[in-house]
Each structure stands twice: as structure tokens, then as C-alpha cells.
Amino acid sequence: MAYITCKDITLRYESLTVQEHLSFTVEKGDYLCIVGENGSGKSTLMKCLLGLKSVDAGSMTFGDGLKRNEIGYLPQQSMIQRSFPASVREVVLSGCLNRRLIHPFYTKADKARAAEQMECLNITSLADRCYRELSGGQQQRVLLARALCATQKLLLLDEPLTGLDPLVATELYGILRHIHEEHGITVIMVTHDVECAVRHARTILHIGKNESFFGSCAEYEKSAVGRRFLGETIAQEHCSGCAPGHAEKKQEAEA
């Protein structure tokens, strides 16, 4: 059985129906990117996956040993209070809370786990620094370490590249690949950066106002909706994060 199975779900944003009859599955070990235009219900779907909201019709079931509170979550940068006084260690540790809902204080195991994740993301030297004084890329790694403290199975990322410069975005993709391949963590990412999505993901879920697509990246690139969407983004120069070759190609074309 898959980690997450969605059958014929309907998503509403306030009273507006944004998606109907949407079905997809997330298998263990998958790397799924959710793409689509603004207002197509990406964020609403994310909220449903996180359990912040229930689906308006259809069913969303968790299986294969995955429990609701075993999901790690990387929120959009804008959702976090930037002026909050907290040290990196405090932020990362708070990811361990879902492991001990009864025990009042962090255990040694929690602290060891937080230290391990900070080491993995190369932020151990920042442990006592103030979160709000870090750069955007460093903050993102802190939040990623927190998310990894909360899960060993599934990581959800909500537009993780917004506001990051291209170099940092490339680095983040590298970290994600490492987490996916070495730690065997399933990744679900919502992004508007469809070209990077195709490059890095294994599976694509495209949700549009009129048409949707669910399948592998290769199939997506061949599909009508995929071709149109990919074409549009290239024309608009949307992708800046992960395509060093892309910029060069363009320069060659101009030359």
C-alpha cells in the first residue's frame, strides 16, 4: 500500500471549488513535485496533506506504516516570524516534539537527534546563533533540520525556493537529493519552478484549472499539458534556480 492515497478528492478555497476529481498516490521512496498555476489549489492540497484542513470530498488515506504526525514540514519562508528571538538549536529541537507528546522535556535522544541533523546540514557551527540573524539560505537549512527531526519517512516542502538566490537554490536541491537518496526519505514538494521540478523529481502532479496530470517526469514532458506548461516557463525565463546550462544556452542563442 502507498504512503498516501488520494481518491477523487475535491479541494475548496473558502467557498470556491478549485479542484475536483483529483486522484494520486505517493509511494514510499517517491520524489513528487506538485506544480500548477497560481490559484489552482497547490497550497490547499498542501494543507490537506499536512492535516491543517480536511478534504472537501473524496478520501485521503495514509498507509504503509505512515502516521499523520510522522511528516516533516518545511513551510514557506514568509510563514515564519523573522523577528523571533530563538537560537538555531532551539528551533531544530522543536522538531523533535512529535516524538514525545507526554514527556515534558527533551530527552538525551532528542538532543542527539537534533545534533545529528544539524551536522548533516552543516549548521552545527551556527547552533548558538540567533535564527533571525542568519541569511535566507542558512535559515532554510535550519528549518530543514527541524523538519528532519520530525520525520524519518516523509518530507513536505512548500515553495522552498521562494526568495532564495540561484546559488542557494541549487544547493538546496543538492541537499534534497542527498536526503532522498541516502536517507531514503520520501519527498513531496510544491513549487512553481516546473523546469527544476522535472529535472529533480521522479513523479509530477500537475494541477490546473481545467486539466490535471499525474505520472512520471518523462510522461509529463511528453504530455500536452506538460509541453505547454514547460514551454511557457522557458519562454518566461521563470527558472533561475537549478539550470546553469539553461542560461548559457540562451547566451549562445543570442550570440
Binding site: L50, E90, S94, N98
Partner: protein, 281 residues
């Protein structure tokens, strides 16, 4: 200026000053802890709204001849729950809903007490009367303060998580609604206790000042919490001393000391940041 040694007779110290000190320190502790969460969650208005509701209830309790504290606390806890719901799901917007609700409760209380011709009786709760508390009041408020402290310490990690990033906490299975309610209930209890001592007008600033002062100086959540407690208790002691020396209102003196400390720490914070930036360069 009063001669302190003339006021501080043994009878005054043991019968009035010592109980006031104990109760005041206990309430200062609670208010500074909760203040940090309220300020960071951007709902300082809830503290203010609750003090309005508390004062209104107090007026009604006095008019009816009920025990003021014992009636007010449950009512304010209920109000905290309602205010939280209002700010979550109101079409008016959180702060507007809180203002409407709390001023209505206040008006109702004033209406009742003016009808019963008790305005002078209730007006001293406006500014508090820490030196006029009965022994029963003191014991009651110390016990409640200890409860607030214990609950806060027990749930410290979760309160941090809920304050820092509500969505993440909710997504990883924490019962965010429960912890928000817990913070509101603890705030309610603290507001009523503080109101008896510092006055309804001043209690919300007593919660907010130490927290913002600490935020100027510290970079870690734990540091902010600890500094806030230290600032709160020492400002209370200094304020009480001033009020004895100059024969002024205790609540107002404490708040003015808090204001002075806040201004000083803002300056100090700016200097420290400049120095830090200079070093990095």
C-alpha cells in the same frame, strides 16, 4: 520624600509589606512569562481585553456582594476562551472583536456598580491596592501563581513550538488549539491576580514591558524568558520601594520603573548591535 525607617515599623513589615512582597513577586513572575508568549504571538491585546472583562466582572461581583477574586477568575477564563475563538474566526478581525467584546463587558460592570452606588468601592481596583490585600487574598494568589508557574514550566517546550510556528506544530501532531487555550487560561488567571494588585489599567503593560525589554537584549528564547522574569521582579521591587518613599501608587510606580528600564535597554541594545556590527566588519 518619606523617611523609610519611620514607615518600616515591625508591625507594618510583617502585616502588610511582607505579604505584599510575596504576592507581588509571584504575580510578576507569572506575568513576565506569559508576556513573552503574548508579545511574540502578537496578541498583546488579549491581555488588555481580559483586564477590561475582569474589571467589569469585579464591579458586578462587588455590587452583588460576592467574593471578588473567586467570581472573577472563572468568568475571565471563559472570556479568554471566547476571545481566542473570536480572534481565530471573526469576520471583523481579531482586534476589533476583542475591543467590542471587552468594552461591552466593562460597560456592563460599570452600569451595575453605578446602579448600586458603589463606584467609589470599585474604583480602587482601577489602580490596584497591593498593600490593602487581605491575608486570604495573598495566600490565594500565591497558590495560583505557583500553579501557573508549574504549568508553564511543564509545557515550556510546547509553548515555544506553538509560539514560534503554529503551522509546523499542528502539522507534526501537536494539539495547537489546546496549547493556545492553555496560554489564554494562564493569562486570564494572571490578569485577575495582577488586577487586584496593580490595577486593571496597568496589568497589561506589566505583562508586555518585561518581555519587550528582554527582547531588546537577548537573542535566544530561553534567554528572553529568563531576562523577562528578572526584569519583571526587579522592577516590581524597585517600584514598590519608590512608592513607599514617595507615597505614590504602587502599580503606577512599577510601570514607570519598567518604562525607564525599557528605554535604557533599547539604548543598550542598539549600542551592542553597533558594536557587534563593527566587530564583524
Amino acid at each position: 520624600m518619606n523617611n523609610l525607617s519611620a514607615i518600616l515599623t515591625p508591625e507594618f513589615v510583617s502585616a502588610i509589606l511582607l505579604p505584599a512582597l510575596i504576592a507581588g513577586i509571584a504575580v510578576s513572575l507569572c506575568s513576565s512569562l506569559l508576556g513573552v508568549s503574548l508579545v511574540l504571538k502578537r496578541c498583546s491585546m488579549i491581555g488588555d481585553g481580559l483586564s477590561h472583562v475582569g474589571y467589569g466582572t469585579l464591579c458586578i461581583a462587588v455590587a452583588m456582594g460576592w467574593a471578588p477574586m473567586q467570581v472573577t477568575i472563572p468568568v475571565v477564563i471563559a472570556a479568554a476562551y471566547i476571545l481566542l475563538r473570536l480572534s481565530e474566526s471573526s469576520r471583523l478581525g481579531g482586534d476589533t472583536a476583542i475591543a467590542l467584546f471587552s468594552t461591552s463587558a466593562l460597560a456592563l460592570g460599570i452600569f451595575a456598580s453605578s446602579k448600586a452606588n458603589l463606584m467609589t468601592d470599585v474604583s480602587h481596583y482601577m489602580f490596584g491596592s497591593i498593600l490593602a490585600m487581605t491575608k486570604g487574598d495573598v495566600i490565594f494568589s500565591v497558590i495560583l501563581s505557583i500553579c501557573v508557574l508549574l504549568v508553564y514550566l511543564l509545557f515550556y517546550d510546547k509553548i515555544f513550538a506553538v509560539t514560534f510556528d503554529e503551522n509546523f506544530a499542528r502539522a507534526t501532531g501537536l494539539n495547537v488549539r489546546f496549547y493556545n487555550l492553555l496560554i489564554a487560561v494562564l493569562t486570564a488567571v494572571t490578569v485577575v491576580l495582577g488586577m487586584m494588585m496593580m490595577g486593571a489599567l496597568l496589568i497589561s503593560s506589566l505583562m508586555i514591558f518585561p518581555a519587550v525589554t528582554a527582547m531588546r537584549l537577548c537573542k535566544r528564547f530561553r534567554g528572553v524568558v529568563i531576562t523577562s522574569v528578572i526584569v519583571s521582579v526587579s522592577c516590581f521591587l524597585l517600584g514598590l520601594l519608590f512608592s513607599l518613599m514617595f507615597d505614590t501608587s504602587v502599580g503606577a510606580s512599577v510601570i514607570l520603573v519598567n518604562l525607564a528600564v525599557f528605554v535604557l535597554s533599547s539604548l543598550l541594545g542598539t549600542l551592542l548591535r553597533r558594536a557587534g556590527a563593527g566587530k564583524q566588519r
